[in-house]
């Protein structure tokens, strides 16, 4: 969809502006700025924050004078992909490699918009075997296959 102004760039610019200002403010509040010859820890983050805010502002202004296209935002796919990583991170220490890989594969597969339990089970088992072969057997990491630490 074509819009009169480039709302995508304006939003991106606004976010960068806010991020830059926040970083600059946080650095100046919490770290020593020092002088130009004896710089404190805060000077470089402060100046980078200001630069980021400035570039964000330029992007916003540029977007105001440009036509734009609204980008397509996917909803289901990111939820499944991000969810699969989160599930892995939550399960790897308490439950071990096999449950974590099975669970994250299942969540990731849902992004296909179809649920095929057998296919997911088989691919989860194959991936767990491959993971164990490469990481535990191959390069000798000590990750337990199954454990129960709650």
């Amino acid at each position: 969809m074509v819009t009169k102004r480039d709302y995508r760039d304006m939003t991106a610019g606004a976010l960068l502006l806010l991020l830059g200002l926040a970083a600059a403010w946080y650095a100046s509040e919490n770290y020593r700025i020092g002088t130009i010859t004896r710089m404190g820890a805060g000077l470089v983050p402060l100046s980078l924050g200001v630069m980021l805010a400035g570039l964000g502002l330029m992007l916003m202004i540029g977007g105001w004078f440009r036509k734009g296209i609204l980008p397509e935002v996917r909803v289901l796919t990111p939820i499944c992909v991000f969810g699969s990583i989160a599930v892995f991170g939550l399960m790897i220490q308490p439950f071990g490699l096999l449950p974590a890989v099975m669970a994250s594969t299942t969540v990731a597969s849902l992004a296909e918009k179809e649920f095929r339990p057998l296919r997911i089970l088989v691919s989860g088992l194959l991936l767990s075997a491959a993971a164990w072969g490469i990481f535990v057997f191959g390069i000798g990491l000590s990750i337990p296959l199954i454990t129960w630490k709650l």
């Binding site: 980021l52 989160a86 790897i92 890989v101």
Partner: protein, 504 residues
């Protein structure tokens, strides 16, 4: 030292069974990744990055480098047979490679790209071997002010030259530099942006950043979009690969021209294999006596770019290894791998680690030979790989990313860092902000800050110090020129484009 003694040392290192194995593994994985659309070279290298922690530094670098130039070989396969670039640097190969495949000459195109790749890479290696030690010899004398200026030029060039919008590129470099300040400040020991979190004291992990920005974000945009192609396996048989005498006559000059273009742009900051391939195509089109054949299956349009992008792959190592300044995000990851093994990149690298440098250079020859063997007789295998559906691949990639991130220090925190950068990476894709400058800023961040602060101490706070040094002043002037040029080019493009919808 004698060049032949160095080459012999390198050959000895590269031919040791341990290094040879990882060289093979690198180019093999690189080819697979290059063939498959939907995983880029950066995602691949960051995925395999954790594995290299457990290797010797030389083997680690040999393997990562193998993946890098291996993808360029593999990338042309999908371009020619499916009209989808397997890697960005092979995008131009689609223009004439795909028409050749439709005319039933796909086999010839595949053979000629492999030969062109080998030729281009060989010339690139010769350039790399001759220039790196020379540059390093002079670079020993340069101080913090010069380093700061060179890195600034590298960052600005990377942010502005190859991206659509200079403002977006620069904003991402600054964001990368800002992310690099997270953790302990190397000069004062103060903790910055850690918010009391112990796991952030060492800074954000480069592995997690690269995996999230390139691996995870790429998967989110590729799921349900990439479909296995209708490929005719017959296009990749021995008989279909035999080039005509006319093909060979037309190919050898573009091969050398492409290699020259690639060698030059590969070594420059901000330009890389993709731009080299585009330039080579443009040049072939311009000098051809029959430009109307281009886009309809002209062999020159395949050979030139493929020779150029492979030459650029090799010469990209010149600034990386002789100065310690990476010109592209991939090279930044190579430096990251070195630093993790406690090796300081810089002009002293070649003299202090001759085994590593010459071993790596000689491994390029071996790797390219292996690729020639892998690509010509085994092409049928790679073509079949194009038929594996993406839905079977992405859960495996995700799993690899998760375990890789976790394995670095057995910390679920690192997995969640990957998740955070994955979200950032997807948001950046939605807003069309380029991730490559961010990675480059992140890797160079600590070095830029250290050299800047050191230079300012030496200058006693006087900014004129930078302009009084001829070398520094020249580099800074070049940096300004790059910015001015890219702003001007952007304005001119917009003026030409009446709809105002460029950069989309």
């Amino acid at each position: 030292m004698d060049i032949f003694a160095n080459l012999a040392l390198g050959l000895g290192t590269a031919l040791s069974p341990y290094n040879l194995l990882y060289c093979f593994l690198g180019v093999f994985l690189g080819t697979i990744i290059g063939v498959i659309p939907g995983i880029g070279v950066l995602a691949a290298i960051s995925m395999l990055f954790p594995i290299t922690f457990h290797l010797e530094p030389t083997a680690a670098l040999i393997m990562l480098a193998g993946i890098w130039y291996g993808t360029t070989y593999g990338g042309s396969t999908a371009s020619i047979l499916l009209n989808i670039p397997g890697s960005p640097s092979s995008a131009v190969t689609c223009l004439d490679g795909y028409p050749m495949a439709r005319q039933g000459r796909g086999g010839v195109a595949l053979l000629m790209t492999t030969l062109a790749s080998f030729g281009g890479a060989s010339i690139g290696i010769v350039v790399l071997t001759s220039f790196s030690p020379m540059i390093a010899k002079y670079a020993i004398y340069i101080s913090s002010a010069e380093y700061f200026a060179l890195m600034l030029l590298g960052l600005v060039a990377a942010a502005t030259i190859t991206n659509g919008s200079a403002v977006k590129g620069l904003a991402m470099v600054v964001l990368g530099l800002l992310l690099a300040t997270v953790g302990m400040d190397s000069q004062s020991g103060a903790q910055r942006f850690t918010f009391g979190n112990i796991e952030l004291m060492d800074g954000l992990s480069i592995v997690a950043l690269a995996m999230g920005l390139f691996g995870v974000a790429e998967i989110v945009t590729s799921v349900r979009r990439i479909h296995p192609g209708d490929v005719d396996p017959k296009s990749a048989t021995w008989a279909a690969m035999k080039p005509t005498r006319d093909d060979i006559r037309r190919s050898w000059v573009p091969l050398f021209r492409g290699a020259g273009i690639g060698s030059f742009f590969g070594a420059m900051p901000g330009t890389g294999p993709s731009l080299s391939a585009f330039m080579a195509y443009a040049v072939e089109h311009r000098v051809s006596r029959t430009p109307e054949r281009f886009g309809k299956g002209a062999i020159e349009g395949v050979v030139g770019p493929e020779s150029a992008n492979n030459a650029a792959d090799q010469t990209a190592f010149i600034p990386t290894l002789s100065l310690g300044i990476p010109g592209s995000p991939t090279m930044a990851l190579m430096l990251g791998a070195l630093m993790i093994h406690g090796i300081n990149p810089g002009p002293n690298l070649i003299s202090e680690q001759p085994g590593l440098f010459w071993g790596l250079v000689m491994s390029f020859w071996i790797g390219n030979l292996l690729l020639l063997i892998l690509n010509i007789p085994l092409i049928g295998l790679w073509v079949r790989l194009l038929m594996v559906p993406y839905r079977m691949m992405y859960p495996a990639i995700l799993m690899f990313i998760c375990i890789g991130a976790y394995s670095v220090r057995y910390s679920p925190f690192d997995v969640f860092t990957v998740l955070g950068f994955g979200m950032l990476g997807y948001a950046m894709r939605v807003f069309s902000l380029p991730p490559a400058p961010l990675l480059l800023g992140f890797v160079l961040g600590p070095l830029v800050e250290t050299h800047f602060r050191r230079a300012m101490i030496m200058a006693r706070g006087d900014a004129m110090y930078f302009l009084e040094r001829p070398f520094t002043a020249t580099v800074l002037a070049l940096t300004v020129a790059v910015v001015v040029w890219s702003v001007w080019a952007g304005l001119r493009r917009r003026a030409r484009d009446k709809s105002g919808l460029l950069d989309q």
